[in-house]
């Protein structure tokens, strides 16, 4: 499984999305379930899946899927297709 697939799988589970609803340019405002509790769950899930734990400051800057990928790219976790 690639990192892109792992991230998609994770976010679909947390945000309770069908595969057809997921996009890599999805923003927080596009998804009803993406509230502050989802931010906590994403931090837990990213830690479990990619072994990196967002700091609270980093978690606060996340406005969408591109931000998650950009943050993880800075930790050498690649999402190249």
């Amino acid at each position: 499984m690639t990192n892109r697939e792992k991230l998609q799988d994770l976010l679909q589970d947390i945000l309770l999305l069908d595969p057809s609803e997921f996009r890599f340019d999805l923003m927080r405002d596009d998804v009803q379930m993406w509230d502050s509790l989802a931010v906590v769950a994403i931090a837990v899930g990213v830690d479990e899946t990619f072994g990196y734990h967002f700091t609270p400051e980093e978690a606060m800057t996340i406005k969408g899927v591109p931000d998650i990928m950009a943050l993880l790219e800075t930790k050498s976790i690649s999402f190249a297709e």
Binding site: L10, D13, I14, L16, M33, L37, V40, A41, V44, E48
Partner: protein
């Protein structure tokens, strides 16, 4: 230190000048207090909003109703909470859980914190072994989920680790020493969050009450039933259980033994028969979403297959 209301000795209720005071009690307690020199009430609907003091003696549900009544209807009333059973910790927490036709509504705010709590140790002796066991499950769930929560900070974890050590030393019986760690656990989890045990309990409670109306299915029984399987899930699916128990000097495997002793496989089978239909709602529950280990749609299979055994 964990925030908590002022603590009184039980006798102070009778010795202090409480002004125009009403005693709100559950039926199980009422016969013990009929001669107390206060007005008596059986529900918040009967309370006068000009009261100086309200003393509530009962379980978590009644205490939460009194907390809500005071906050919304009579904010100047002094509130004294005396739990008739441990577990909910309602006497020590700024959280209220209200039941609206089976749906749980959770509110948090300092306006809900009682002014005083006190322990009436003799009430513990009236609990049946089953009630005591379920109450212990509720208390363990608050302490463990609050400790493991991704929202907990270092000092809170230190406080809750100390509570967990105390709980581990207590027998699962109607021992009044449970009141203190239970109150501390509840005050602690209010500063972080709870997790999947509570997500399951909040979702299944109305289902179980409707399906088995005379079998005493309530919050504490569900907590006692699920705290061991959920902690085994947390242990199996992530490293937070192992790393945090080790970091705070806790004996994780001894704690798992303690909570395993609360688990009843018959209760588990009965509750799990309703889990598949409720799982989507469990996943949406705010408590589930702050579980220490991520809960996914496919996590249901882990519980259905009894992978914790």
């Amino acid at each position: 230190m964990l925030n908590s209301p002022e603590i009184w000795d039980f006798g102070e209720i009778l010795n202090r000048n409480l002004g125009n005071c009403t005693l709100l009690t559950t039926p199980s307690v009422r016969s013990r207090v009929t001669d107390w020199p206060f007005n008596h009430a059986t529900s918040v609907g009967h309370l006068d909003e000009r009261l100086d003091t309200l003393v509530v003696i009962g379980g978590g549900t009644l205490i939460d109703e009194a907390k809500a009544w005071r906050a919304h209807r009579a904010p100047r009333t002094f509130l004294v909470a005396v739990p008739s059973i441990w577990g909910s910790g309602a006497e020590a927490s700024p959280v209220i859980v209200l039941d609206h036709n089976g749906a749980k509504e959770i509110h948090i705010g300092n306006q809900y914190l009682p002014d005083v709590r006190c322990v009436w140790p003799e009430l513990a002796s009236s609990l049946s072994p089953e009630q005591a066991l379920y109450a212990c499950g509720d208390a363990w769930s608050h302490a463990l989920e609050g400790f493991l929560s991704p929202l907990a900070g270092h000092s809170l974890r230190e406080d809750l680790a100390s509570v967990l050590v105390t709980m581990k030393s207590l027998p699962v019986s109607n021992d009044s020493r449970w009141f203190e760690p239970s109150a501390a656990a509840c005050a602690g989890q209010a500063r972080s969050s709870v997790g999947l045990v509570h997500g399951i309990a909040h979702t299944l409670e109305p289902v179980m009450r409707a399906s088995y109306p005379r079998e005493g299915w309530g919050h504490a029984r569900l907590c006692a039933t699920f705290v061991w399987p959920v902690m085994r899930y947390n242990q199996a699916r992530g490293d937070r259980w192992t790393s945090l128990t080790s970091q705070y000097g806790l004996d994780g495997s001894a704690m798992l033994d303690c909570i395993e002793s609360l688990h009843d496989s018959g209760n588990y089978e009965t509750a799990m028969a309703h889990m598949e239909g409720a799982w989507k709602e469990v996943l949406r529950d705010p408590c589930t979403r702050t579980n220490s280990t991520l809960v996914r749609p496919d996590s249901l299979a882990w519980f259905m297959n009894r992978a914790f055994l």
